[in-house]
């Protein structure tokens, strides 16, 4: 079986709007890949293409040698949506049990709650817990089926700085323990450098790849990484790449 996720010459229009234009991306198995780009550059569309929720107008998507639909039918995706997407009439526990109900399997909700640090909150409802906790529920639901690929669409964009840092650490722990291939979309440069093995930088609409950077920071990562010189060098480098692009310089071509 092929060990890579390959997007080849992906294009997608919405009406007159060219959202993605001939995008080539390669993602390695078990890596934590960040897709970094400005707001509204088609990152969500890209995640949906990877998940098989949106069909590209042209180009080829290969997920370890399979189509997104095949991967989905094998329940190998876990998706954390941007707006959490919890079902408000279901308790935290019932939200986590939803994936199992649909394919007639029983996942251990108590274990999942423990993994995301919400052991005591199973009987609460989404509107009774904080946004950060809601996002934890969404992560628990996404990993319920023990997926191979975790897709995260700006999961932390609505969180405050402290909640964000805590969740980032927890996410890295879950990723590491579960041997996941994580693809995480964000517009936050710091988040990108902190989480990633590899950062794929996209231009604004239509999306093209500006650069693909390998991040060589030690694992497991802790918040002390944020103070390291190497981390700050990466930040500076990413910034300059984005800036160059804005001035019309195109690394990709």
């Amino acid at each position: 079986m092929e060990e890579k996720i390959i997007l080849e010459k992906i294009s997608k229009d919405f009406g007159d709007l060219k959202v993605i234009d001939g995008l080539d991306v390669e993602i390695r198995k078990n890596e934590f890949t960040i897709i970094l780009g400005p707001s509204g550059c088609g990152k969500t569309t890209l995640i949906k293409i990877l998940a098989g929720l949106v069909k590209p107008d042209s180009g080829k998507v290969s997920i370890f040698g399979h189509s997104p639909e095949q991967i989905r039918s094998m329940n190998k995706y876990g998706i954390v949506f941007q707006d959490k997407n919890l079902i408000r009439w279901r308790s935290v526990k019932q939200n986590i049990e939803l994936p199992g109900e649909i394919i007639d399997k029983k996942y251990d909700a108590t274990r999942l709650l423990r993994i995301v640090g919400l052991r005591r909150y199973g009987n609460y409802y989404p509107d009774e817990i904080s946004v950060g906790m809601q996002q934890r529920v969404a992560i628990a639901r996404a990993i319920a089926s023990s997926p191979e690929i975790l897709l995260l669409d700006e999961p932390f964009s609505s969180l405050d700085e402290l909640a964000r840092e805590k969740l980032q650490i927890d996410l890295l722990r879950i990723w590491n323990e579960s041997k996941l291939t994580a693809i995480h979309v964000t517009h936050n440069i710091h988040e990108a450098a902190f989480l990633a093995d590899r950062i794929i930088i996209l231009s604004s609409k239509p999306s093209r790849m500006i650069a693909s950077i390998k991040i060589n920071l030690p694992r497991p990562r802790s918040l002390s990484v944020l103070r390291s010189l190497r981390y700050h060098r990466y930040i500076t480098r990413i910034r300059s790449l984005i800036k160059d692009e804005k001035q019309g310089y195109n690394c990709h071509s």
Partner: protein, 251 residues
């Protein structure tokens, strides 16, 4: 009892009292507008006679309304599953609703005789529509995100209906249910107007023929009580069920 219930009852009593005084002070003859106290006395004296008719109208309403709910739910579910059937039947349903029920009632009586059945059919005809339309709306408000979630979890259409569409349509269901309940009572009266030997609508006709305004007003009082009770019961169910589903009523 809650504060707002007390307010409702107090204002109703006040209105009746003002009416009583106003009529006493005026020179309106009794057969045009009877005193509320007179109507009340009439109701107490003739309760046995009235109760038989109340029971008939109540049964018509409950049976008709019950079937009407089933019809509305089934139609809405069918149309969720089949766009073709929706395209075929929706126009027919909409056109049928442009006919005034008072014009349809004689035909229904003509086809189905004089018993309970035609009244029930009239009630269904007039009351299923607002419920059906509300359900269609409630079923179809699924957000793109929720739909994406369910697709990503390999949910089929049944899962989507049972786990998302039906729960999310509850506020719309209750909104439609309240309109339908009131229309069901109107339907029963219309049916009884066209042909009946029993029921509150029938009593209104008799009252008119005999120039017995006490009888007419007694019937109206019970129609009001019937309508408001049904409405309140639905409200009660709505409040408790929507609270359990963490939702708010839409009206």
């Amino acid at each position: 009892m809650k504060n707002k219930d007390i307010t409702a009852i107090a204002s109703l009593l006040a209105a009746v009292l003002i009416l009583e005084i106003a009529i006493r002070l005026s020179s309106i003859p009794n057969f045009i507008l009877p005193l509320p106290s007179e109507v009340l006395v009439y109701i107490f004296r003739n309760f046995d006679f009235l109760s038989k008719h109340i029971f008939i109208t109540l049964s018509e309403v409950l049976i008709g309304f019950g079937i009407s709910i089933l019809v509305a739910v089934m139609l809405a579910v069918v149309m969720i599953y089949s766009k073709v059937l929706e395209r075929i039947f929706l126009p027919i349903i909409v056109i049928s609703q442009t006919f005034p029920v008072i014009a349809i009632a004689p035909i229904i009586i003509l086809w189905f005789g004089f018993g309970l059945l035609p009244k029930i059919l009239i009630i269904i005809f007039i009351s299923f529509f607002p419920l059906f339309m509300n359900l269609m709306k409630g079923f179809n408000i699924t957000e793109k995100n929720t739909a994406d979630l369910m697709i990503s979890l390999n949910a089929n259409r049944n899962d989507l209906l049972v786990k998302i569409r039906i729960p999310q349509s509850l506020p719309y269901f209750f909104s439609g249910l309240k309109s339908a309940a009131i229309l069901a009572i109107i339907g029963a009266v219309v049916g009884e107007f066209v042909s009946a030997k029993y029921g509150l609508g029938y009593l209104v006709l008799i009252g008119k023929a005999q120039i017995d305004s006490n009888l007419i007003f007694s019937s109206l009082v019970f129609l009001g009580v019937l309508g408001y009770s049904l409405y309140s019961l639905i409200n009660l169910a709505e409040v408790s069920l929507l609270r359990r589903f963490r939702m708010k009523p839409i009206d």
